[in-house]
Each structure stands twice: as structure tokens, then as C-alpha cells.
């Protein structure tokens, strides 16, 4: 073994990640898809809003794959003859905003509380956990109605309503894992070094819990995207003519047997987004775990 005085320079973090992403073609495709969605969410409304709102009762429920109307109509048209593709693109912004907002909010609040409940003493933990029980047994619709009446309808309130009900799952998951992880020796070792509780929680415990939270969060994304449309019906949040994928699905619901494409395409968008997020989070679980990382690095080598 050669002894060198300087530490070897590791390949840059980003380059390494990029190489590992390249190694997993599924994850790569997922990442590209998500990138596309994000881009569309940013430019979509400015770019296609007019086309997406232009009604044309004569072209209502136009079937998909008819090229002669132009590419915007490739997915067909909705009940008011508006091109579905344009609507999906325009809806991406609201959808992503609400879904990401709600999921991030619930995940962050939930896991923060879970970390505290798991790490702190039994009394704090008991209080937090019973609070979670209360939230868990509070019907989301009731929360929605209450928020609607007390705070009034708005997108932020919609996000809050959607987020509140999902807090307990992150909270409970995090706490359960923290209870186990904090008994591990490397946590003791960190304590001996004088690491502050914050450091122990965020540097040592959180990384172990994070992959599980990410898995839940990705599936919650789908859940939130669908649930959001259910709340629109209370008049809270996104309202027609503003659109989200969830709303498009629920509007297309009655045409399920006669004009399937109305709710199919937005449904597909949700499925693909969820799928991509999940593939990416599964990839991340492996890429961020040094013990598993070889799965990607080896493959990357073979291919590249």
C-alpha cells in the first residue's frame, strides 16, 4: 500500500451523481421527464394559456390521434373542445405547485416533529404523538370545510388542508425509526464527540430515515394531485377555469365510458410523474447509500 501525504481528490459530487444517473436508464428517463414537467410548469401558462382556454363546442370530445387539427389536438379535446395537450401543459403549473407545496409542507413538518418526538423525552414525545393521533382521526374534508369557512378559499389554504392530513404518516414513520436509530452505536459515538442534538438528528439520524420518507412522499404526490380536485368541489383552492390535472380527471370522469381520453391523459400525467418521482427516489436511495452505491457505479463502468 503506497503511502501518500495528500488525500486523493474525490471525483466531484455532482459528477459522480451524474455518472450514477447515467448508469440507471430508468432513473435517467425519470429525471428527464420530471425536468420536462418542471420546464412546462414554468413556461406552460405563458405559452399555451390562450390555446388551452379557447373553447370550440363543435370540436368537443374530439378523439385523440387526429393529426389534421394540429399537434395540440393530438390527445383529443375536452367537453368544451379545448385541446387536452395544451390543457395538460398549462395545468402542470398549478398541479405541481399544489402537490409539491402540500407534500413538502407535510413531509417537512411531519418529519421534523417526528425527529423531535423520537429524540426528545417521553413527555414531549407523548404530546406530539397524541396530537398526531388527533390529526389522523380528523377527517380531511372537515378540515377543508373548517379552513374554508374560517380562512376563506385560497391556494395556500388548499395546500395547508392537503398537508395537514398527511403529517401523521411522516411523523410516525420518522419517530419509529429514530427510536431505533438513536440506540445505534454511531449515534452514541457522535454524542461522545459533543455533537449537538441538531447535528445528531440531521447528520446522523435523518439520512437513515430519509429514503423511507422519500418513498412515502413520492406516492403522496399522486395522492395529493388527486385529492386536490376533490377539495375544489368545496370551492377551496383551484377553481375552473383554472386547471389542474386532478380537476381535469374529475371533469372527465363522467365520460369515462364514452370519451376515455378526457380523464386518461391527465391521469397518465399523474401516473408518469409519480412513477418518475418514485424511480428517482429509488435511485437516490441507492446512490446516497455508500453500501449500495456499487450497484450504480459498477453498471456505469460497464456501460460507460
Amino acid at each position: 500500500m503506497t503511502q501518500t501525504d495528500i488525500l486523493p481528490d474525490e471525483p466531484g459530487f455532482l459528477r459522480r451523481m451524474a455518472r450514477m444517473l447515467w448508469a440507471d436508464k430508468f432513473a435517467l428517463a425519470a429525471a428527464l421527464f420530471l425536468l420536462l414537467i418542471v420546464v412546462l410548469a414554468i413556461i406552460g401558462p405563458a405559452w399555451l394559456d390562450a390555446a388551452a382556454q379557447k373553447q370550440n363546442l363543435r370540436g368537443r370530445n374530439a378523439p385523440p390521434f387526429e393529426w389534421d387539427r394540429g399537434w395540440l389536438w393530438i390527445m383529443g379535446a375536452d367537453a368544451l373542445g379545448r385541446p387536452l395537450l395544451a390543457r395538460i401543459i398549462v395545468a402542470a403549473q398549478n398541479t405541481m405547485m399544489v402537490a409539491a407545496g402540500a407534500v413538502l409542507f407535510s413531509a417537512i413538518v411531519g418529519s421534523a416533529l417526528g425527529l423531535v418526538a423520537g429524540y426528545a423525552g417521553p413527555r414531549t414525545s407523548q404530546v406530539i404523538m397524541r396530537l398526531a393521533d388527533v390529526i389522523m382521526s380528523f377527517p380531511s374534508l372537515l378540515i377543508a370545510v373548517i379552513v374554508l369557512y374560517i380562512l376563506g378559499p385560497s391556494v395556500v389554504n388548499l395546500i395547508i388542508v392537503l398537508a395537514i392530513t398527511r403529517i401523521p404518516v411522516y411523523l410516525r414513520t420518522t419517530r419509529a425509526e429514530v427510536l431505533e436509530i438513536k440506540s445505534r452505536m454511531f449515534v452514541s459515538a457522535a454524542r461522545v464527540m459533543g455533537a449537538s442534538p441538531a447535528r445528531i438528528i440531521f447528520r446522523h439520524i435523518l439520512p437513515v430515515v430519509l429514503p423511507t420518507l422519500m418513498t412515502i412522499a413520492t406516492l403522496d404526490f399522486a395522492f395529493v394531485m388527486l385529492a386536490e380536485s376533490a377539495l375544489s368541489f368545496l370551492g377551496i383552492g383551484i377553481q375552473p377555469p383554472e386547471i389542474t390535472w386532478g380537476l381535469m380527471i374529475s371533469q372527465g370522469k363522467q365520460y369515462l365510458t364514452t370519451a376515455w381520453w378526457l380523464s386518461f391523459w391527465p391521469g397518465l400525467a399523474i401516473i408518469l410523474t409519480t412513477l418518475s418521482l418514485n424511480l428517482l427516489s429509488n435511485w437516490m436511495r441507492i446512490a446516497l447509500d455508500p453500501v449500495q452505491r456499487w450497484r450504480l457505479e459498477m453498471r456505469g463502468r460497464k456501460h460507460g
Partner: protein, 304 residues
Amino acid sequence: MSSFIRKRVFASLISLLGLVVMVFFLSRLTGDPAALFLPVDATEQMREEFRQIHGLNDPLMTQFGRYIWDLLHLDFGESIRRARPAIDVVLEAFVWTLQLAVITMVLVTAAAIVVGSLAAFRVGGVFDRIASLTSLIGASAPDFWVAIVAIVVFALGLGWLPTSGTGTVWHWILPVGVLFIRPFGLIVQVVRGSMITALSSAYVKTARAKGVRSRPIIFVHALRNAMLPVITVIGDQAAALLNGAVVVETIFGFPGVGKLMIDAILQRDFNVVLAAIMVTALAIFVMNLLIDLAYLALDPRIRH
């Protein structure tokens, strides 16, 4: 152990009381039941009488005091809509919900654990890819899609199963099938993720060195270590089912507590809302207690 349970029951009772107080006051901020019970054209005098009959004209504190007093006598009040004791209405529905939740969760848990574990055993293998993909697509597809398509295919098309309703075993298949999908997808993913880590740990090597077969290595050695986040998520999904499976109840005409609760909330039938929340909350509290006991049973390191 018994002191743990005693403390827990006590804390849960406090949260139940908190829940009742919260729901009682917050729900009363959400509008006048008279406006909803009576048709739009009803006269103001009729509304006034209605409020008088149902004690809605008294000061809120008086109403609350009366409610709590009755509650102490195990009287949950009358349903405004149904003119019968709210608790009867709720319990009737809850029996169905409980059955549905238990059956679904038992099936989901068994299936998801097997599939998730096998997927984790060969990460990136064919089984892993197929299982992940199908479960994720199922989990992110709108549930009413799945429900309607299932009816169209299995009841209308093939004529194998009844469209909806209750009565025979056959009536359960579609609702359970539809409810199965989302928790299944979620739990498969959580099991898979958690198992990947567990299967690469040193004690699995020990088991292999002992000559233990693959199946017990997966399902005995690794699984128990991987179970903490899994049972948490199972609990979360079960809680969701205990709160009522609205879509399934609506579409399949299943007389559960979900639609009852939604209707009661929308109609501001407060006594039913409160009774329903208390019953489901109790179920959820019990379930969370069982889950916490399961943590202790699963992982001796948590017992301290």
C-alpha cells in the same frame, strides 16, 4: 407494559376530549344546519323553529355543556337528518368500514410484504421492475377510474361479479380489490426500500454462514429488521380506511362510515360528525397503540 398501556389510554382519552372540543366548536363555525336541512325556499320562521327544536339558538357554551353532559351519559345526541340516535347511525356504518378495513389491510399487508421483499432480494431484476411498475401505476391511478373500469369489465362485460351493493361474498371482491391498490403500491415500495438495507447487513451474512435458506433469510432475518417503517405505513393506510373509503362507498354503494361522514359534514349534521369522529378516532387510537406495541415486540432495542 401495563403501566405503558395505562398511561397511553389516559393520554388518548385526553386527546379524544381535545378532539371533541375542537370538532364541536370548529364545526359550528362552518355554517347553519338549518340552511342545509331546509330547502332554499323555506321561510325564516321555519328556520327559526328548526333552530329552536335542535337547540341551535342557545349560546355555544350551553350547547357544549349539554353535549358533554349527554356524552357522559353515553348519549351522543340525535342525527338531525335521520331523526335517530347519531351513535346508532355511526355504528351501523362503522361495522362495515371496520370489516372492509380489516380484510383489505390483511390482504394488502401479506401481499405487499411478499412482493416487496422479493423485489428487494434482486434489486433491478425483472421481478423487481415488474412489481414496482405495476404497483406504482396502480397506486397513482385515480381510484374511481379503477372502480368504474372494474365494474365495466367484471360486472358489465364478463358478468362475473355484481356491480355493487352488499350481500354475498362476491359483493366484497370489487370494493376490496379497488381499496387494495393504493396501500399495496405504497407498502411494496416501503418494504422494498427497507429490505434493501436490511439484506445487506452483517447479520444476514451470519445467517448465510449458518446455511439458512434464502426464504427464511428474507422473511425472518431481514424482514423483522425492516418492519419498523413498514408497520407505520400500514397503520397510516389502515387509518385512512378506518376514516372511510369514500370513493368505494360511493361507487359500490357500500354503507360505510366514509360517505356517512362526508354527508354529515356537508349537511352540518354535527352530532353524526362528532359521533363518527369519536368512533373512528377510538379505532385509530387503538390501532396506533397496537402499532406501538408492535414496535416494542419487533425491536427489543426500543424497549427501555
